[in-house]
Amino acid sequence: MSARRPLLKRLLRDRGARVGLVLVLLVVLMAAVADLAPWGPKQRDGGLGEELRTPPSATHWLGTDSAGYDVFSRVLHGARLSLLTGLLAVVLSLAVGVPAGLAAGWCGGRVDGLLMRLTDVLLAFPSVVLAIAIATLFERESARSTFERVLPVIVAVSVVSVPSVARQVRASVLQVRPLEYITAARALGYPTSRILLRHVLPNCLAPILVLSTLGVGSAILTAAGLNFLGLGPEARVPEWGVMLSGAKSQITTAEQWLVLPPGLAIAATVLGFNLLGDGLRRALDPRSR
């Protein structure tokens, strides 16, 4: 545990990381208090047609959208979905990318060749193009809950980021493998699984941590894009990309300000994770110590 304290200290000394941390904590707070929001995420207010849309007021802090939903409450609930999307996508891509990278770096030879050619194929696609196909592949008409509806996009985003995780882990393993302490561990007759988990993996953690933090940001960004394109959940679901897609149809009307809240929320969240990731990179880099 003592090794972690200097890291946190170094991180907090970095201005960019501090700003990033504040932004990320803000989004976490938004997600945490979403249930205290004045209106439910699917609760409509007001009459019909034109009357549904109201400008910001005391009852609706950010007004209501064309379906009569309270924008402020939906932005809060959107924080939940975005954090869920970003974190789950990164966890999924780590679950596939880390073992693949370990296997490629440790085994070398044919295993490495095969796995790296696979990443080549995945990297040959522009990421959004591949993500669109994967989201379509996992889409089910029968999906009922909100989670089931956002899952295809989460899977799509995680598949797209697997190659970079696998390559990073492989590169770290290749750096560690020829070191003497690994040779010593092998000479002691430790099983491969123990060497990989106890000796190799801990030394790959720093780049994985940086990549994951930045990955949460880019996963949220890509997912919002896919949802904006209409490949995610339908308009009722309080998701920032979906909200922007709704605002797009109002862009020439008086309600064009609806563009601001969800977009600002996405930008602030992604910026937070990017700043935090960059700060972590600087804090973990032995050269900058």
Partner: protein
Amino acid sequence: MLLYALRRLLLVVPLLLAVSLLVFALVSAFPGDPCLIKLGQHAPTPAVERCHLELGLDKPWLERYGDFLAGALRLDFGRDFFTSEDVGAVMATKLHATIELAFAALLLAWLLGTWLGTRSALKPGGWSDFLGQVLALGGTSIPVFWLGMLMIVLFGVKLEWLPFTGWTAGEIGPGVSYSTGFLFFESLFRGEWAAAGSALKHLVLPAVALATIPLAVITRMTRSAMLEELGKDYVTTARAKGLPERLVVGRHVRRNVLIPVVTITGLQLGTLLSGAVLTETVFSWPGMGTHLVQAALQRNYPVITAAMLLFTVIFVLVNLVVDVLYHLIDPRLRTPRPR
């Protein structure tokens, strides 16, 4: 040099084969019966069966892949499920629109990025350095589709300076019969100045929005490459012999900076194409991106397949060209590497 280019080209072939296999596997694994999508959920059984035969769905999977590959090589992707148009021919005009947009964005990002990067390296801590850092952060954090919408609201709706939709032959150059989808280039080529001007106006907003993505990376790359080169001995020599700073930078440093920047620009093309899908949707740009999204939403199988394949082939080929170009600009790499 030629040998190197040929060798790289040969390496691309298996990659593209693998890509085509993945595209075909993905699309054929889509849930639901393509014939029910084509003919509607309540189509009569004989019609559905006839459609299965037409699309060759009764054949084994591998044979279908073979047919698909043979068709793709002849640029024959079948007919659109809903409009019955030739998918390849429609894709060509869409491709032209995308190329014009991507080219404009890349040109803009390149000019602005190298200028800003150079400036901020020459005057660290100045306003251009600050602007470069802001752009670098914004470019990776601000959703390009949101930025596009903000620009539409400000410059399109509020100020009414620029059009934000309507990239069609009828709108750009009424009376001009275009034979390609390159509305700007073809207007220029035909000497239709009014149409070319109109096309340029239509290009501004989407191109600026799309340019922000590569701009961030090009600026950062130029700045760091520039700083690295400025610290080298030949720069000290050039300065010591009294060469004006303008020539030190213009004649010596810039040429060396070009190498990493060209590479990074090529690598950015993937994100540029990804961004194009989103930007096109925001600006209703009739390019491959909107076409792909529409097709994905309607499960229009032949169009999805063709668009995915085309996007990827472009990406892979441009990377190949950049790689060869890289060898061309850097004479140090020209001797063949020992294998």
